[in-house]
């Protein structure tokens, strides 16, 4: 269906150089041709993005405006419901608390992820056997599938897991209810989310730190700067632009928290770890109210889109500054 206009557009692009070729080559013609060639290169990526990104997003919005259940999902023509699904989510008292929990997760993941990432990057800035080993370990953690990562942490944080065993050996009276207490469970899944993002942030920060001219550190040392002084007055200002970009990326990552919740708590105890993405999953794939689930997911997408716009702006600004 969608292949037809794409093919026509591509054919038009293909014709362009043939017409141009019969005229003498002028600088502006060459520029136009180069520009058109770029469009050709962009075409496969644009088509892929349209099919796998834009189309599902439009369908999600479309679904959120209709009454779609297991009975009608595979039937043609969904019944229009307007904004009823959105209203229902809030009226049932589900979307509001889920949004609150999502914000808690975003806060924890962002703070721990950014501070942890920067700290690790500072520690790993210098070359050496240990920093090389730690770097490799971080890449390993970063590359681990979330389901594996989450399952490992579920074992580690259980009553009989490593963390509680150590705490009990250190004198704790009872195991810490990491995954089955209302407050602890939310903090635990947020912590694991932060743990998983730290390696990525550290790698990006490390790359930014390595671009600082060594003479700057020498100058700082001559001025009597301490280790903390180097961090405070040299490194932090030098990675300011990177921090902004990374901050937006980390918030977006935290906003769509799903994997670890699915594996570690399934939203429980009760609904204590139901964030917006997980609530949307439950509504669509456990209650089979696809319209309601789509509406909740649209709310999450809107949050991510706002942050994506901030990200795009910050990237443009950074490019303009450099």
């Amino acid at each position: 269906m969608s292949g037809a206009p794409t093919l026509a557009g591509a054919a038009a692009v293909a014709e362009a150089p043939v017409e141009g070729s019969s005229r003498p080559t002028r600088p502006d013609t060459r520029a136009v041709r180069a520009s058109r060639r770029r469009v050709v290169f962009l075409l496969p990526a644009a088509a892929l993005m349209g099919v796998l990104g834009v189309f599902p997003l439009l369908q999600l919005v479309w679904m959120s405006l209709h009454d779609v259940t297991q009975r009608t999902i595979n039937a043609p023509g969904w019944q229009f419901a307007g904004l009823e699904n959105y209203a229902q989510g809030f009226a049932a008292g589900e979307s509001g608390p889920a949004l609150g929990r999502t914000l808690v997760v975003v806060l924890v993941v962002t703070v721990l992820g950014m501070v942890g990432g920067f700290t690790a990057a500072v520690a790993l800035r210098t070359a050496g056997r240990w920093s090389g080993f730690l770097l490799a370990l971080m890449v390993f953690v970063w590359a681990l599938p979330p389901v594996v990562n989450g399952s490992v942490w579920k074992f580690l944080l259980g009553d009989g897991g490593l963390v509680n065993t150590v705490l009990l050996a250190l004198g704790a009276q009872t195991p810490v209810p990491f995954l089955y207490d209302t407050t602890w469970a939310l903090l635990s899944v947020a912590f694991v989310g932060a743990f998983a993002v730290i390696p990525f942030n550290a790698l990006v920060y490390r790359a930014a730190l390595l671009t600082i001219d060594p003479e700057v550190f020498e100058a700082a040392a001559l001025d009597g700067a301490t280790r903390w002084g180097e961090v405070r007055y040299v490194m932090i200002p030098a990675v300011r632009a990177t921090t902004l970009v990374l901050l937006v990326l980390t918030i977006v990552y935290a906003f769509r928290s799903f994997d670890f919740i699915y594996v570690m708590t399934y939203g429980g105890p009760g609904t204590a770890t139901n964030t917006l993405p997980f609530l949307g999953y439950l509504q669509a794939f456990s209650r089979y109210d696809y319209g309601l689930g789509a509406a909740t997911s649209v709310l999450a997408v809107v949050g991510v889109l706002v942050l994506a716009a901030v990200y795009a702006r910050s990237i443009r600004k950074e490019e303009a500054d450099s």
Binding site: M1, S2, G3, T6, L7, A10, A11, V13, A14, P17, V18, S21, S22, T25, R33, R37, V40, F41, L43, P44, A46, A47, L48, V51, L52, F55, T69, Q70, R71, I73, N74, A75, K154, G158, D159, P177, L179, Y180, D181, T182, A185, M264, T265, Y266, G267, G268, P269, G270, T271, A272, L282, A284, F285, S286, R287, Y288, D289
Partner: protein, 427 residues
């Protein structure tokens, strides 16, 4: 035709554009397709003699039973092969429904029987009426294991599963109590077990349909029914189990356990009791290093225990439904196949003739389950729940159950919330 010095360049650009267009077109066409009759990754296989069976079993013995059925069918049907494909429990329905939307899916589905209506409404299951009418042994199956939606049959169960009270006989002997027959006796035994340094009971408190399945006996014991839901009775049932957590008899961690984990905990030897199913018999034999036994769940006269188990059906988009039916007829629905279930897993055959076989009648562990079927057995899901509300209701009740065990909500608060949801769903 004029030869231009830029021709080579132009040709290259044109070829590039054509290639790009072809790639884009192919991608678009791929996205538009999906309604083909063949499947990928374990779905229907183009009628090449392979029966693809989707299941969600992780328990070793249950997986072994699937393998035995595969061997049995392949031995009987030369040239036919069976491919057992694992799909996680909570992804099974969504995968089946989305596959059905794309005109794909497995040949045979082994799924939670309670969710037959969800799958049938979504068009993921093929009607079985024709095969069933022609099936000579159809009269061996009781109505309770036949799943119909709007007058059409979609699935049958080869066996029945239900919950019972497993006990650690060594612990009970040590504390000097008999296996409990009433709720008071159970609570007293748990208290004594705790005093002796053991833990009380394991069960699943997951906030999903497994939680609802586990909660039902304890809630109905307190007088709760779906026919006339009463928030007071619900609060009493939920409050009793929360009390077990507060007394230290039931680990609050059970909110993170599916039904497999609590039995592993019981089999490790530290718990006096486990509210778990007959399908754990194989695991108990393999793992428990102590004497154990089973009694019916000590629910009172009002208490009910769901008669569950997996439904077996043919996928709506099976490319070889005849072979799929042959598989079901030769395994799950045959006497020989049904007798493997009690032997390997401990499930109770659904066929009348198989249920009378010595394999079943001589099994002392199955006797309490059979007694429970007669005394407290209830249809799963309850007949008063509309087909479209089953999944919604199970999640709402599972979440209430989990919220109370985990301390997120008080029993009164959770009961009020669940009651309001039920009123909306049950009308």
């Amino acid at each position: 035709m004029r030869i231009h010095r830029n021709d080579a360049h132009t040709f290259s650009a044109r070829r590039l554009a054509t290639t790009a267009a072809a790639v884009a077109g192919a991608l678009a066409l791929t996205a538009c397709s999906g309604g083909g009759s063949t499947g990928t990754g374990g779905s229907a296989t183009g009628g090449d003699g392979t029966v693809t069976v989707w299941h969600y079993f992780t328990d070793e013995q249950q997986v072994r039973l699937m393998e035995e059925y595969k061997a049995m069918f392949e031995a009987q049907h030369e040239g036919a092969t069976v491919e057992n494909v694992f799909v996680p429990y909570d992804q099974m329905n969504s995968k089946l429904i989305s596959a059905a939307g794309a005109g794909q899916g497995p040949d045979v589905v082994v799924f939670n029987g309670a969710e037959a209506s969800t799958l049938a409404l979504a068009g993921a299951l093929a009607p079985l009426d024709e095969h069933w009418d022609a099936f000579a042994d159809a009269d061996q199956f009781p109505d309770s294991v036949i799943h119909e939606v709007d007058g059409t049959m979609y699935a049958a169960q080869g066996y029945v599963n239900l919950l019972g009270l497993w006990y650690n006989a060594d612990i009970l002997a040590e504390i000097g109590v008999e296996p409990p027959t009433t709720m008071d006796e159970l609570e007293s035994a748990m208290a004594q077990a705790k005093e002796a340094g053991y833990q009380g009971i394991t069960l699943s408190g997951l906030p999903n349909s497994q939680g609802e399945w586990q909660a039902y006996p304890w809630l109905t014991d307190a007088g709760f029914t779906y026919e006339a839901p009463d928030a007071g009775a619900l609060e009493a049932g939920l409050g009793r189990v929360r009390g077990w957590v507060e007394q230290g008899w039931l680990p609050q961690e059970s909110v993170n356990w599916d039904q497999t984990v609590p039995f592993q905990q019981f089999a490790a030897g530290g718990f006096a009791f486990a509210a778990n199913g007959n399908w754990q018999q194989g695991t108990a034999e393999a793992d428990a290093q102590f004497e154990y036994g089973v009694v019916p769940l000590p629910v009172g006269t009002d208490g009910k225990v769901y008669l569950g188990g997996e439904g077996q059906a043919i996928g709506a988009h099976s490319d070889d439904p005849e072979l799929a039916w042959d598989y079901l007829e030769a395994t799950y629905f045959s006497t020989e196949g049904q007798l493997l279930a009690p032997e390997i897993v401990g499930s109770i055959p659904s066929r009348a003739d198989a249920a009378q076989d010595e394999v079943v009648t001589s099994n002392t562990l199955l006797a309490p389950f059979a007694e429970s079927i007669e005394r407290s057995g209830a249809n799963y899901p309850d007949g008063v729940v509309p087909a479209e509300a089953v999944a919604d209701l199970q999640l709402a009740m599972g979440q209430a159950w989990s919220a109370v065990i985990g301390g997120q909500r008080t029993a009164a608060d959770a009961a009020r919330g669940a009651q309001a949801t039920l009123e909306g769903l049950l009308g």
